[in-house]
């Protein structure tokens, strides 16, 4: 638990004399219209474990990719051990003593551990001497850092935890003093994760610097000395881990949207439309990503699901939309079991409308004309033509009507979907999904990346819809959005529903639930 923390308290405050192991100053990076890193400055003390935490898309991976030379920053500089360096490739980064363990391992599976470790450091035409040298180094590393792996084992046959160990060995073999780990526990079992943390502490105690990128709060609390929180490309805070709590970090991560206070009348919940019972979904590695989830959504109410992303909300949406098949449990729509269908087209016919979390990847087809994206999922609608044919006039007519009703601009249904702004793209999706009179609307991140105009319009539409008696399930990482729209709030953590709260609930209390802490527990307990 927290047993080994006092021993290193002196380390978490960087000494005045030693320069930081890595210093990023004013890093700025844009990808087209996306501002991935906004003037980020960060110093990482030598011999510490530094966590970088943030939602998906907060810019933490981009930042580390810049440090490791995958991307060039548009502005800013990098200093290693106080010296300004130019890192334009991963080779440069390695030469500066920076190693990276990627989320998806970069290993040659049919090779042995030894062969993988010398990959990129073969040093000559003959592999023999390098292998012999590596064997010696591996033995030393195994002794120093408890990184035991059989050097002659075939990597593909090793469990994931050991494969990750090979990745760490690879970086150390190339002389890494700074080790970056990107979402290191995403693929590990809890047991393997504990082992990993033990190894990382060992590395730190031997003077190595470790940077962990993650969106899991409890890992940060457990293993780091200092933590930086990123949100929408900005570094919003850097604090000593012992001075903060999981709940405080969760609050920093989810942040505040510019959502205005929307007028919300009293809800008049009717009959149960959606009933989810003991729903469980396991991924291909048999890890339960949705665990025993039960809740109901009534006609005329909005049920909001709050949580830090990656805690099972996306999978829950997919399950209800028929994009994934439940491993156990039931999903009922008006009493009819729909979980086993796993057929989005059938569910749409039954009255389930789905506004997906990622409109660009799923909600629209970017190279299609707007009028074609406007019928995505409805291209089988009998009203749009005859048995085999789509009536172009009717398709355009529907698209034009939807665009007018939702004030999509520009109002040109022949424009390619990709040419619309984020807010207008979202309106196109909403118009399509709401327009066909669904019973149940499931909405993921309705205002993510939309412009200010749409950020008022979309919540208002959702509330109108509620007042018309639709059942709405809303998933969002924006706590303010959840609180101002929902009639009831469910908080998800690690695939489970932590509890239900009314929308007036204090942010701090929701933050605790989002960090996996039940009220009554002391916040410090999250470290375990």
């Amino acid at each position: 638990m927290v047993s080994d923390r006092p021993a290193r308290q002196d380390r978490s405050a960087p000494g005045a004399s030693a320069p930081p192991a890595v210093e990023l100053i004013g890093i700025d990076k844009r990808f087209g219209p996306v501002h991935a890193n906004r003037h980020v400055s960060l110093a990482i003390a030598k011999g510490s474990i530094h966590g970088i935490i943030g939602e998906n898309g907060a810019g933490k991976s981009t930042l580390m990719s810049i440090l490791f030379g995958f991307y060039a920053a548009d502005a800013g500089e990098i200093r290693v051990n106080g010296r300004k360096v130019d890192i334009t490739s991963s080779g440069d980064a390695i030469a500066q003593g920076i190693g990276m363990v990627h989320q998806h391992f970069m290993l040659v599976e049919p090779f042995t551990v030894l062969e993988n470790v010398v990959l990129g450091a073969e040093g000559g035409a003959l592999i023999g001497p390098a292998l012999a040298r590596a064997r010696g180094v591996l033995e030393r590393l195994a002794r120093d850092y408890e990184l035991d792996v059989d050097p002659d084992a075939i990597v593909g046959t090793l469990p994931v935890g050991l494969q990750q160990r090979v990745e760490i060995l690879k970086a150390l073999f190339k002389g890494a003093d700074v080790l970056i780990l990107d979402e290191p526990t995403g693929v590990l079992t809890p047991n393997e994760a504990d082992h990993l943390f033990h190894i990382l502490r060992g590395l730190r105690d031997q003077g190595k610097t470790v940077i962990i990128i993650t969106h899991k709060l409890n890992e940060i609390m457990e293993v780091t000395d200092r933590v930086s929180v990123m949100r929408r490309g900005e570094l919003v805070a850097t604090v000593d881990t012992r001075d903060t709590s999981a709940a405080a970090l969760a609050e920093l991560m989810v942040g505040r949207s510019v959502l205005l206070e929307v007028e919300k009348g009293e809800g008049k919940p009717g009959a149960v439309v959606l009933a989810v019972e003991k729903l469980t979904w396991r991924d291909s590695k048999n890890v339960a990503r949705v665990k025993d989830v039960s809740f109901a959504v009534r006609a005329g109410e909005i049920v909001g699901i709050a949580g830090v992303s990656g805690n099972g909300q996306s999978e829950l949406l997919d399950l209800i939309a028929g994009l994934k098949r439940p491993s156990a449990g039931t999903i009922r729509l008006d009493g009819q079991e729909i979980g086993h269908l796993a057929d989005p087209a059938r569910l749409r016919d039954l009255g389930v409308a789905h506004v997906p979390e990622d409109r660009q990847a799923r909600g629209l087809i970017m190279p299609f004309e707007e009028c074609e994206s406007a019928i995505l999922g409805w291209h089988d609608d009998p009203a749009l033509g005859s048995a085999l044919w789509l009536d172009r006039g009717k398709v355009e007519g529907r698209a034009a009507a939807d665009m007018a009703a939702f004030d999509v601009r520009p109002q040109d249904c022949h424009l390619k979907s990709a040419k619309f702004s984020g807010g207008n793209q979202q309106k196109i999706v909403l118009a399509r999904e709401i327009g066909r009179d669904p019973k149940l609307l499931i909405v993921g991140q309705p205002t993510r990346g939309v412009d200010v105009g749409a950020i008022e319009f979309i919540p208002r539409r959702l509330l109108e819809l509620r007042d018309q008696g639709k059942a709405i399930l809303l998933v969002s990482v924006e706590l303010d959005e959840i609180r101002s729209l929902s009639d009831r709030i469910l908080v998800m953590f690690a695939g489970e529903v932590m509890g239900e709260r009314p929308p007036e609930t204090d942010e701090r209390e929701l933050g605790l639930l989002m960090a996996g802490v039940q009220p009554g527990d002391r916040p410090e307990a999250t470290a375990s």
Binding site: G32, G322, L390
Partner: protein, 356 residues
């Protein structure tokens, strides 16, 4: 997202100017090659153009070649729209010949218009089958379509040699070919040239392909799967099903080439009648940007190169048949592989005033 940096060029630049520039560059490089072997490039170009466009006979041959290339080009184009690279047009056309010949030889008891119709449909059905199998293997077993369609070309070649030699070859005949199909044939338009009524079929096929892709529910699904499989799944489309259907349609279009060759030209099933047209179809589809109109235009260009090239090698013995292949290869290189090579230059030209 990174592509946005280059901005969007006017539509006509993409569809007309870039192909034209590529063609001119291809011809310039080809001219250089002609120069190196000691001939006058301008004279060669003149002979080439005159050979294809200077006489009714030239035109008729050009259209005959273009008919084949349209069928195979459309086949590749349809598959492209579903995100599939069908290299197997050659084999699909070859096997389709089996269907055409079986109907032609076996249905002599039927009135000829009906037998002809069945012959066309049989060719399409055999081609469709030869496309469907790789489609099935891709959709259900995950075998890559490029690999399987290439292999199916080889299987088709061996299978057809075996069948023609052992089943179709009349006893006592030396030539490895079937007996003559006399009952059905496509009208020869300008004898003695091989141009026949299949050219109208090609036009029809191009129209059908356009209609299928942009006016039917199935076409919508095909393009959705090709453009964004994840969004297609979200929409309730089953990509596996679409892949199998698309490959069958692609094979059927390639199979129409056998109608032109078997029922329109040779009037018998012969070895290797596809003659590489299946592969030319890939270049035609690339150059035609997978749009039926573009495919027809590209097929005409390749028809011109084939016919004009034949005349050129006849008039200038120094420019052998192989040289013609080199020129065609250059056209494919610049219009297919290097399709986008001049785009940045043109983009800079078009955006220069705005950037200033």
């Amino acid at each position: 997202m990174m592509k946005k940096v280059h901005g969007e060029l006017p539509h006509w630049v993409d569809t007309a100017l870039i192909p034209a520039v590529n063609l001119v560059v291809a011809l310039l490089v080809a001219g250089l090659v002609v120069l190196i072997i000691g001939e006058n490039p301008l004279e060669a170009l003149g002979i080439l153009l005159k050979g294809a466009l200077g006489s009714v006979r030239g035109w008729s041959y050009m259209l005959y070649y273009a008919t084949n290339f349209t069928f195979t080009g459309l086949a590749v184009a349809v598959a492209f729209h579903a995100g599939l690279f069908n290299i197997g047009g050659e084999g699909q056309a070859y096997v389709a010949g089996l269907g055409a010949a079986l109907a032609g030889l076996g249905l002599e008891f039927l009135p000829w218009p009906i037998a002809l119709l069945i012959g066309i449909m049989a060719a399409m059905a055999f081609g469709a089958l030869w496309g469907f199998i790789p489609g099935y293997l891709q959709a259900r077993r995950g075998s890559h379509i490029v690999i399987t369609t290439i292999m199916f070309n080889f299987i088709a070649a061996s299978l057809m040699v075996y069948l023609i030699n052992n089943w179709f070859r009349p006893a006592g005949r030396m030539a490895v070919e079937s007996r003559e199909i006399t009952h059905i044939s496509l009208v020869n338009l300008l004898p003695p040239s091989p141009l026949n009524a299949a050219v109208f079929l090609a036009g029809l096929a191009a129209w059908f392909t356009w209609y299928l892709l942009w006016r039917t529910r199935l076409g919508y699904e095909i393009r959705a799967v090709g453009a964004n499989p994840e969004a297609a799944v979200y929409a309730g489309i089953k990509p596996q099903r679409v892949i199998m259907i698309t490959m069958a349609i692609s094979g059927a279009l390639a199979g129409l080439m056998a109608v032109n060759e078997v029922l329109g030209v040779h009037h018998r099933l012969i070895l290797e009648f596809a003659g590489g047209a299946g592969f030319v179809g890939i270049a035609v589809a690339l150059m035609g940007r997978s749009h039926p109109v573009g495919v027809v235009l590209a097929a005409l260009l390749f028809g011109l190169l084939y016919q004009g090239g034949a005349e050129l090698s006849f008039a200038k013995p120094a420019i052998t048949r192989d040289m013609i292949v080199v020129i065609q290869g250059l056209v494919i290189l610049f219009m297919g592989a290097l399709e986008q090579a001049f785009r940045p230059v043109l983009a800079a030209f078009f955006f220069a005033p705005e950037k200033a």
